[in-house]
Amino acid sequence: MASDGGVSCLRRSEMMSVGIGGMDSPPLDVDEVHVLAVDDSLVDRIVIERLLRITSCKVTAVDSGWRALEFLGIDNENASAELDRLKVDLIITDYCMPGMTGYELLKKIKESSSFRQVPVVIMSSENVITRIDRCLEEGAEDFLLKPVKLADVKRLRNYLTRDVKLSNGNKRKLPGDSPPLTLSPDSPGSSPPPSTLSPDSSDSSSPPLSPVEIISSQLSSPIDDEDDDVLTSSPESSPSPVRRQKMRSPGLD
């Protein structure tokens, strides 16, 4: 059980090849998606870690923005040698964290030449439109409202670099062009997962797309977003009220 308040990585028995700081670990399998999760709450780290692992991601979970930067080597000019081995495909971070907020972390990542192309997703328990806007304008890929559910992670997973295969009848509707992302009401991923969980998209290696490429290559969804309203009600059977965010155009015009 991950009880370390610092870096809560994979459990020893299932320890993958992700090392902390990438020092002693062998290179990650290029086909596998590696996610860096940042959250000061241990409970939330464990949950997000599980959600990501169920969707076949390798996960490194850290408890602060500083640790995230340290892990990425952004704060260390000499870390470039490690970069070949340190593939991070997605960074998912909580917004409200002591010390460095998720927003501040986002900014630092976007300022980094090595990592600015890595999609960053912000999570927050609070539905604050100005906050969401600010993050998206700063280049966040998406904004998830907590508590995060499997369907949210599956959605992320599906538009992540490795899986973007637009012509194969991908089960998920892909986000629209400049308008906000659409939720995918009819995709299998939005129904409650069966007891044996498996990723709903097949992995195959493909050259990673930058966020810009992902956005510009997306099909427009048949279900259009009505307006620029950020809040959408969840199409799922979940009885909880408005809990999702549409992605606003992240400053791309």
Binding site: V47, K146, S195
Partner: protein, 156 residues
């Protein structure tokens, strides 16, 4: 099927349903259960255990912050409430989360007596939930020991 197992399973179902009906748990708990499988059979128990550890820690922090003779740092109390609200939300601890929402408002209003009362309620509530979930886990154990499978409970 063994009558004993069937009886335990029914007991279990009814117990779980009552927890939802009485507002102890919400759909996020259902979500956590759905993340558990044969490969991670103790996932829910682990997460809940961490949550209750969190409760102890945060309630302790809040009690200390409210115990200051002199000026109470309501921001400090509020920060702890925020954390507790977050983790209770993440595990589906509906009543605890609800209390935290009230608590947050009381902090913002710098309502000292209100905060103290609310903290007491939070303390009672998480301990109650802990006991209830312990009963639930015990029932699961009994079912398994009797040779049965823990049923998936449809709460809708």
């Amino acid at each position: 099927m063994d009558a004993h197992v069937a009886q335990l399973q029914m007991q279990y179902r009814n117990y779980i349903l009552s927890l939802y009906q009485q507002g102890f748990l919400d759909d996020q708990f259902t979500e956590l259960k759905s993340l558990q499988d044969d490969g991670s059979p103790d996932f829910v128990a682990e997460v809940l255990s961490l949550f209750f550890d969190d409760c102890v820690k945060l309630v302790g922090n809040m009690a200390r912050a409210l115990d200051q003779t002199g000026t109470v740092d309501f921001c400090q109390v509020g920060a702890n409430v925020h954390q507790l609200k977050g983790s209770s939300s993440s595990v589906g601890a509906k009543r605890v989360k609800g209390l935290c929402i009230n608590f947050k408002e009381l902090c913002e209003a710098k309502n000292y007596e209100g905060c103290v009362r609310c903290l007491q309620q939070v303390d009672i509530e998480y301990k109650t939930l802990k006991a209830k979930l312990q009963d639930m886990f015990n029932l699961e154990k009994q079912i398994v020991q009797a040779g049965g499978i823990v049923p998936q409970v449809d709460i809708n």
